[in-house]
Subunit: 207 residues, 4 copies
DNA sequence: CGGTAAGCGAGACGGTACGTCAGGTCTTGGG
DNA sequence: CCCAAGACCTGACGTACCGTCTCGCTTACCG
């Protein structure tokens, strides 16, 4: 064996033999899963259905995803992509509002419907619920943490602010609204809502 | 036919003939449903299981509940009872905090687990989700509305407060925390969280 | 409860409640099973196929038959009916030949093909093999026993004849011929074969 | 190129280039196949199982055997070896009995169990059934043909004996007994059975 | 010695059927 | 008309093997 080949082998750290995973299949499965949830709801989301629509065998799905909930999370994640970055427009308050609006708008339409389905379906399966929380919700929620801290530092926000509580107050209602169909998550509502939380409920005596 | 029976019939104003619904069976079914969800999770909650545990026939369950989601909601509602009343201690702010704490504490333990299950399972079934929202969530949320309005009137709260947005900000995070297992819904957290929302995020210039 | 009703209940020996087995379904299943084996061979004989062709649910099949082999045996038995009776034409030797011919002819055509399939398939499943032997083969073989004994009594057959060995010698080659496709089981062959066994192989000195 | 190599090449008639079949692998596969059938029955005999036990890849098995039935036949044949020769002790009748006994004894134990499995399994696959018949059964059966003809010539056997029918009568019951588990194929039974067939069923008038 | 042609292991893939579970409907007999 | 029991058809579950298909590697010949 040549030195080069040996080096490669070592670099690959002894790559497993056998045929490699077919990425086209992987994508077809994720896409089919997303489409089914989106079109017909979580109840209609079955492994058999995904197999049929994607043209994959059931075995292949079970080989790569431990449960249909796990597949749902992956399908969702692969469709929405990265969560972007917080902004810095100079005004922390405006940045917070923009973040709330952005998240809300992101969940209107297909994405939101699928998210609600997963959120709910996840109750069947602890592990998935956790994955979803860690891979989707928390990263998104954390977007705001830096902004909040910047606001505290700059004096725009209360110095004694409980950042975690604030994050929950800003984000949870968006998901809840979606889940419980309490109304649309449009920009108008998001603006109003964010404003209410940021300003607080109490009245301030005129200085 | 005996006179007594005849009298009853007349009193019922021509009540339908045939055997009347057996209330013991009804209660056995609801209890079995609640217990199964509580003990083994929503996934293990099946009509067959409920029939077996309660000693009822499947037919009987289907006769009275249109779907298993509907049964779940009924089982939950019959277990938790009424939602109580808002209080009036003089301080609107203290009243709001007390309400948030009370709701949170209410959802710790069994009740919370079942609620989370239903909340999730409801995504399978629009009708149930709506029922649950209307029979459970909204009544509980509305508890606070009067308090908020009292606060506006008294000047403790901002005169321009968006009451709906405020209600959502105060309640949604409780459910979300439960659903996403973000942490315990204990009194300490509820206090901190309610305080954050009520006071708002912004700093106020010293007057 | 009236005495009459009580009497009936006792007579029924506490018959199980609930819907009774649907005999039309039972027959449809057996017929479908037979037809599939006959038309496409044992390999094509699947529970799913039988369910589909008969219009029954798989569950129903599994409720009543422990394995597909058991179903095959039942299907076969229900199609061929009773095995008839031995004859008595005066000549024991003619009676024996007639029996061999009759069994052979019986196994030509559909029935034989299905039988061969079951005989073979039965190797997968001990219990079925036993059932088939006891319900089909042995009864048929025993048809000849009385004839043989009659022959011994009348002096037509050897007084020291081993009846069991004789029965096997007369019957086994029929099945083997079928199973191994050694040639047709027609009347001509059966005649020749029966004659050979009955007369034996050895030469007899002219008396 | 050396003359010797050239000679070999010519002898091989232009043997194909490339790596040659690995005989150790071939033997490992046959052995694994036999062992699995023997240990766990035909039902447990799967290509995947053979591959796993033998350490071979499935591809390799499919490259050399067209079906699992073909593999089973090969495995069986390679395990039992040649079928030996008929004997000539002077008495044709004793020779025939000896042959029946020998075949019977040969099929007791492992070998018989595997044979029964193949016999049965072969019903799935016409080709295999034929191969098995031609490679195993017929050669063994033909062992007796010469003996029978010798007997006819010597006058020990009937001059008008139907040799084919006699062969079937002598051999088929052995296999049938094995297949249908009608009883052991031991020497005692074989003796009794062979004797019955050879002497025939009919009584002979004292000369 | 270097190229080309197998053989070989591992293992992914699209399928078919398995045997089970639950869903929702029905039939039966009894209250 | 209610009820328990339980048979029934349907559809999805998750698993086992099927037979095919890459892969990367190992022989072995042949120019």
């Amino acid at each position: 064996m040549s030195d080069v080949a040996e080096l490669e082998r070592v670099a690959d750290q002894g790559r497993a033999p056998g045929r490699r995973r077919d990425d086209a299949t992987r994508r077809a499965i994720l896409r089919a899963a997303f489409d089914i949830i989106e079109a017909d709801g979580y109840r209609a989301f079955t492994i058999e259905g995904v197999a049929a629509r994607s043209g994959a065998g059931k075995t292949t799905i079970y080989r790569w995803w431990p449960s249909k909930e796990a597949l749902a999370v992956d399908a969702f994640m692969s469709e929405i992509g990265e969560c972007g970055q917080g902004q810095d427009t100079g005004s922390v308050i405006e940045d917070l509002k923009a973040t709330v609006v952005r998240i809300s708008e992101n969940l209107e339409g297909k994405t939101g419907r699928v998210l609600a389905a997963i959120l709910g379906g996840g109750q069947n399966d602890l592990e998935t619920s956790i994955q979803f929380r860690d891979r989707f919700m928390i990263p998104r929620r954390e977007l705001g943490r830096a902004t909040l801290q910047r606001g505290i530092a700059s004096g725009e926000l209360r110095p004694d602010l409980d950042v975690d509580a604030a994050l929950e107050a800003l984000i949870a209602p968006i998901y809840m609204r979606l889940l419980m169909r309490l109304g649309p998550c449009d920009a108008a509502w998001a603006q109003r809502f964010a404003d209410t939380v940021i300003r607080g409920l109490v009245a301030h005596k005129p200085s």
